[in-house]
Amino acid sequence: MSGAFTKSMARNIFFGGTVFFFLLFLALSFDSTATLPKRDNRANLTPAVANGKKIWETRNCIGCHTLLGEGAYFAPELGNVYPRRGGDFIKAWIKGQPSGAPGRRQMPQFNLTEQQLDDLVAFLKYTSEINTANWPPNIEG
């Protein structure tokens, strides 16, 4: 680099640029949180959904599945499993694991109560109603 461009100029541009773009990011984030109520389905955040999310987290479902495309890629996307399969199927499915089919990928048995299963389904239903700009491309996730 040429001699006219000094280290202290580079440093000043670094600090100036970083502060500017960080503030811009904060402004965009602030605007996002303000618009979220229109998209994030918060009207349906019931206590059941909250409890369902807790079960989702404490069983580490994200360690095998994606949810809205984030997580692990070992097992099906679950952000739209509610419309794909329906609540009864989901409950029956979770109760029926592991499949024990030889060589097939396995999902553990979590020994959830009927109440916990209902809450989990409520959480998955709430998730499926978030406005995700039409993602995923089709029902298979």
Partner: protein
């Protein structure tokens, strides 16, 4: 070694490499579960292996960063470390806390672990990469603060260089953005929104400052190029990083319920993120070409050049591949993501740590560089691991393209599981390549034990 207290870096480097081995073993377990679904089930379910794999990765990279800081900062500041005792105490606390956490994942069901460790007080567990129990997370913060106090005090009492400043900024940023891991609202969209403030702003933000500072430090040492030149480059690179990378966070805000203007902001800014990685490659080659001395540690120079190239390929090229919203619509959450994650993490953060270890360990052991025999073996391990990761990435990319085609683009989409069946050949090839990677890693460790004529003491 110029300052006695730099020696505290040694246990950090050794622990880092030990945990790296553990990470790869669990990677291979998962790789096998991909094709033999019931392998080790129910003893080690896939999700448990995954937590161990990714958490070991993060913890060993942190060990590497801390060891690097303890090595670099006294030399940059031209003074002994503020408190070597504190550094050693934190080493043991971090190692024991890390080991207990891994044992916890493996020994008790995750829900029980959550109950035992106070998750009910503040629910933070069960999110990707942030699976650690609350007490572990608090422990990480305490260790990080003690560490930051220690190195900040060292810098304050000594010479203040740009490399020190950038390293400190990166490490303080690492600690600050980790605090978002304690924020877990019930609202899934908000949860995901701020989850990325830890994950993305780490790897595509503050960690790149650490990466740049470590690379600059080693390049000064092995090339003898003027510090003014190297530090100017460093500032240019990290400016490009943060100017593109902060708003680049938006490439994760396409499909998670966030406003749709992020498809523009995220695509445009993240499409520019490869530029700083490209600059880093040019920087590394440029400095080595303009070298003013022939440093006897050829292996360290090779790692430094490799970091530039592989970080650019993994983060820059493979990142760009799926970062534009119309492409990401199809590739989001597929094997394409996994392909990119592997090459980016390896190329940037694994390699920069191995660069530092390769440069510093011989000196910590009382010589400027290892014997030729040892260096030749180390270079073999460089090529084996690096070529393996390239092929792992290519196989996962092939798997990902087919997955997208069969499951998402097709007029008659297959289910997820049916698709996985069809692409299992690529998972087998990934697994075998992973075995080669492990051999490379074993050779790397073996190179530490190869004797021969040492190069003169530093």
């Amino acid at each position: 070694m110029q300052y006695k207290s730099q020696a505290v870096a040694t246990p950090y480097f050794i622990a880092a490499i030990g945990l790296f081995v553990g990470q790869i073993i669990f990677g291979l377990i998962m790789g096998l579960q991909y094709v033999i679904g019931d392998f080790l089930f129910p003893m080690i379910p896939f999700n448990v292996a995954r937590m161990v794999h990714t958490n070991l990765l993060i913890v060993w990279l942190l060990f590497g960063f801390m060891g690097a800081a303890y090595y670099m900062i006294p030399e940059e500041s031209e003074t002994e470390l503020f408190s070597p005792k504190l550094a050693l105490a934190m080493f043991w606390i971090f190692l024991v806390a890390g080991a207990l956490t891994i044992v916890g994942y493996l020994a008790v069901p995750y829900a029980t672990l959550a109950e035992l460790t106070g998750n009910d007080l503040l629910e933070t567990m069960g999110r990707e990469f942030l699976e650690q129990p609350l007490i572990t997370k608090v422990g990480i913060v305490i260790v990080a603060l003690a560490f930051l106090f220690n190195i900040s005090m060292t810098v304050l009492k000594g010479r203040k260089t740009s490399i020190s400043l950038v390293m400190l900024l990166g490490l303080w940023g690492l600690a600050v953005f980790f605090l978002f891991s304690f924020y877990n609202p019930t609202n899934l969209v908000l949860d995901k929104f701020f989850w990325w403030w830890t994950v993305h702003l780490w790897v595509e933000g503050v960690w790149e400052l650490i990466l740049g500072a470590m690379l600059a430090f080693v390049l000064i040492k092995v090339t003898g190029v003027d510090r003014e030149v190297i530090e100017k480059w460093l500032y240019v690179i990290i400016t490009l990083t943060l100017v593109t990378g902060i708003i680049g966070t938006g490439h994760h805000y396409f499909w998670i319920g966030t406003p749709e203007y992020w498809q523009w902001w995220g695509s445009v800014f993240s499409a520019l993120e490869p530029i700083p990685f490209f600059a880093m490659t040019v920087f590394a080659f440029n400095m080595v070409n303009r070298r003013r001395r022939e440093h006897p540690n050829k292996a360290a120079t090779l790692w430094a050049l490799g970091t530039g190239v592989m970080a650019f390929l993994g983060a820059g090229v493979w990142g760009f591949l799926h970062t534009l919203a119309p492409v990401n619509y199809y590739t989001h959450g597929t094997q394409i993501t996994a392909a990119h994650g592997h090459m980016a993490f390896y190329g940037a953060y694994v390699m920069v740590n191995l660069t530092m270890i390769s440069y510093a360990m011989p000196i910590l052991r009382g010589r400027a560089a290892n014997s030729n025999k040892s260096q030749v073996l180390e270079m073999w391990s460089f090529w084996l691991m690096t070529i393996s990761i390239v092929f792992i990435t290519l196989f996962l990319t092939a798997a990902g393209i087919l997955q997208v085609w069969l499951q998402r683009v097709s007029e008659t989409p297959l289910s997820f599981m049916a698709t996985q069946d069809k692409i299992s050949l690529f998972y087998w090839m990934r697994e075998w390549t992973g075995v080669v990677f492990l051999i490379g890693l074993i050779l790397y460790i073996a190179s530490f034990f190869v004797k021969g004529e040492d190069k003169a003491a530093a």
